[in-house]
């Protein structure tokens, strides 16, 4: 029979013969193993092994065919990365996307979250609409927006035309492709950040606002000294998710621009895909994967160590999605 969690970890010393107690322990162990096994097998086999495999193949020059790679080249794939202008450009463009997310999308999402936290008619409807794009896939959003930003007859240029402004090439102009991409990404995702921030805002007890008002604080002071600090954990998670999202951005780019024109909207994931699945430079593409992985890992660990650590007690209060 299973023992609930309340029992102390250290069980009494084992008996030399098979006692009922010992049989119960064996059965308990079996239960644990049997219940964990499916998840563990799948996770190890299809998440950890592939990542290990990427580490291994990144050390070879390999076209991806015929068993395992044989042409060992050490770290030269990684050395080549440091010289690859497209890859270095990916890093730069990733940084631009992250900065734009944090400096433009996040404040907008925060503003709207605070706005929808007010007593406002139709706010349920507004929230429903703002969040709706999140359920549309990146592919469907992307295809829709290739039409919206189409240089000939696209919605945006038609609107500009009404105001007598000449149309832009948007996604097919290297100068505007990345910004247009950012716009579409934000169109889909700002509602998600807004929902997170709104949930965080609603967790702040109204008594605090009232106490602030009693002490004569204006609405800016309440925002600056009560709302913003207490929203800190949520904001930091929102930033974290933006950054992880920017590192792995693929579907939307693939559909909108394919990374072009002349790599102006390419991301690391697209570069990896191009090398791995189009040019059959699997070893080199693996090196890109591994680098993406390392960047995510180092970033996530550092972020949790230095930024999220102090949030761990207060932030994780509501349990199990029962909001």
């Amino acid at each position: 029979m299973a023992t609930p969690l309340t029992r102390p970890l250290s069980a009494p010393a084992p008996h030399p013969t098979t006692s009922p107690r010992q049989r119960a322990r064996t059965r308990r162990r079996l239960t644990i193993v049997a219940f964990l096994l499916p998840a563990l097998l799948l996770f190890v086999g299809l998440v950890l092994v592939p990542i290990g495999l990427a580490l291994y193949t990144s050390l070879f020059k390999w076209n991806g065919f015929g068993g395992l790679p044989t042409n060992f080249v050490g770290l030269s794939n990684f050395v080549r990365l440091l010289d690859d202008e497209v890859f270095l450009g990916d890093l730069k463009r990733g940084l631009v996307l992250v900065l734009l997310s944090v400096l433009v999308q996040l404040p907008a999402a925060l503003g709207l979250a605070l706005l929808l936290n007010q007593q406002l008619r139709f706010r349920g409807l507004y929230r429903l609409i703002f969040f709706a794009p999140y359920v549309l896939s990146e592919v469907i959003t992307g295809v829709l927006f290739t039409m919206v930003f189409s240089p000939t007859g696209g919605l945006v240029n038609q609107i500009l035309d009404v105001f007598g402004v000449s149309g832009q090439a948007w996604l097919s102009d290297p100068d505007s492709a990345l910004l247009t991409l950012f716009f579409v990404v934000s169109w889909k995702y700002f509602g998600f950040h807004m929902i997170l921030l709104l949930a965080g805002r609603q967790d702040i007890p109204p008594e605090l606002d009232e106490a602030g008002m009693m002490d004569g604080a204006g609405s800016w002071q309440i925002f600056r000294h009560i709302t913003l600090p207490l929203l800190g954990p949520t904001i930091r998670i929102s930033v974290f998710l933006s950054i992880i999202g920017a590192i792995q951005l693929f579907d939307m780019v693939w559909v909108l621009t394919g990374g072009g024109p002349i790599h102006s909207s390419e991301t690391m994931a697209v570069t990896m895909f191009q090398y791995g699945f189009r040019r059959y430079e699997v070893g080199y593409a693996s090196a890109v994967s591994v680098t993406m992985f390392l960047i995510s890992l180092v970033f996530a660990l550092a972020y949790q160590r230095f930024v999220l650590r102090r949030d761990m007690e207060g932030a994780v209060t509501n349990v199990g999605g029962m909001r």
């Binding site: 029979m1 969690l5 644990i32 996770f43 709207l112 896939s137 039409m147 693929f250 559909v255 999605g321």
Partner: protein, 278 residues
């Protein structure tokens, strides 16, 4: 000016902001819906107005073709299978993580939570090689099983959190009545956890429904293509026929928006708890 009027006046700028943002979301979608009812000539001469005449062929032709229903059916099948498997495997693991103390438990659990940071993009290439070696390309399980594996971290995290809130008394009472751990899990814990199961199911359905990168490399055979692949394929095939593509995109949006209409609460609940705990 009455108090009521004054508060209305104060709310006006807030409504104005909301309406502008709302239009930014609705107008592109409406452009698609109405564009699907136009022909390409109308699209360029009359981009904003209502279609005149209303052309229904774009929609009816797509609704009458296998090129829409087959990917739709595949998407549904794969989403359902993924969701059942990921929820079952995660519930089992979450049960053990929540209610048993054993050596290495926290280490194992941390291993799963680290998985929260790994997107498909990082593992896609070796995953493809692995699936090719296992002869799982052009096989639905080649998509379903990896989706399950990558869905485990968030599902386990949320379910474990929920299972912890169920008092130990319930389990002790069940034991006294002669309930085995499996019996407790299946007949008592899972029914009690129905709201949490609904939440993680919605998350899993949406993730599977929207997945693009993995089906893109796993399915060469168009018979297995899912809706996102169908959309890009259709876009390539009818590149010049904008109205027709808009109609396809709009029809492809319908299932996702329908799910959103029914399960918005579960989705929001899952995302907020998944994010704050992950």
């Amino acid at each position: 000016m009455s108090r009521r009027e004054r508060s209305l006046l104060q709310a006006l700028p807030l409504h104005a902001i909301c309406i502008v943002v709302g239009l930014g979301i609705v107008v592109p979608v409406l452009f698609g819906v109405l564009g699907g009812f136009k022909d390409n000539g109308q699209l360029s001469t009359n981009p904003f107005g209502l279609p005149s005449p209303w052309v229904t062929e774009n929609y009816t032709q797509i609704l009458g073709s296998i090129g829409f229903w087959q990917p739709l059916g595949n998407s549904i099948l794969i989403a359902v299978a993924t969701t059942l498997l990921v929820v079952l495997a995660s519930a089992m693991a979450g049960f053990v993580f929540a209610r048993y103390a054993f050596r290495g438990r926290e280490l194992l659990f941390t291993l799963f939570t680290i998985g929260l940071m790994f997107p498909f993009a990082v593992a896609i290439l070796p995953l493809y090689l692995l699936l090719r070696g296992l002869h799982l390309l052009d096989n639905p399980f080649g998509l379903i099983l990896p989706q399950v594996a990558f869905g485990l971290p968030v599902t386990i995290t949320i379910l474990r959190g929920f299972f912890r809130t169920i008092p130990a008394d319930v389990e002790e009472a069940a034991q006294l009545d002669g309930c085995t751990p499996l019996g407790f899990f299946w007949y008592i814990l899972l029914p009690m956890a129905r709201p949490a199961l609904a939440t993680v199911s919605v998350l899993a359905i949406v993730a599977s429904w929207n997945n693009f990168m993995l089906p893109l490399v796993v399915f060469n055979d168009t018979a297995w293509w899912t809706l996102p692949l169908g959309v890009t394929q259709f876009q390539g095939q009818y590149a010049a026929d904008v109205a027709r593509i808009l109609a396809y995109v709009v029809l492809a949006m319908v299932p996702a928006l329908a799910l959103y209409a029914v399960a918005e609460r579960q989705l929001v609940g899952g995302l907020t708890s998944g994010a704050t705990k992950g």
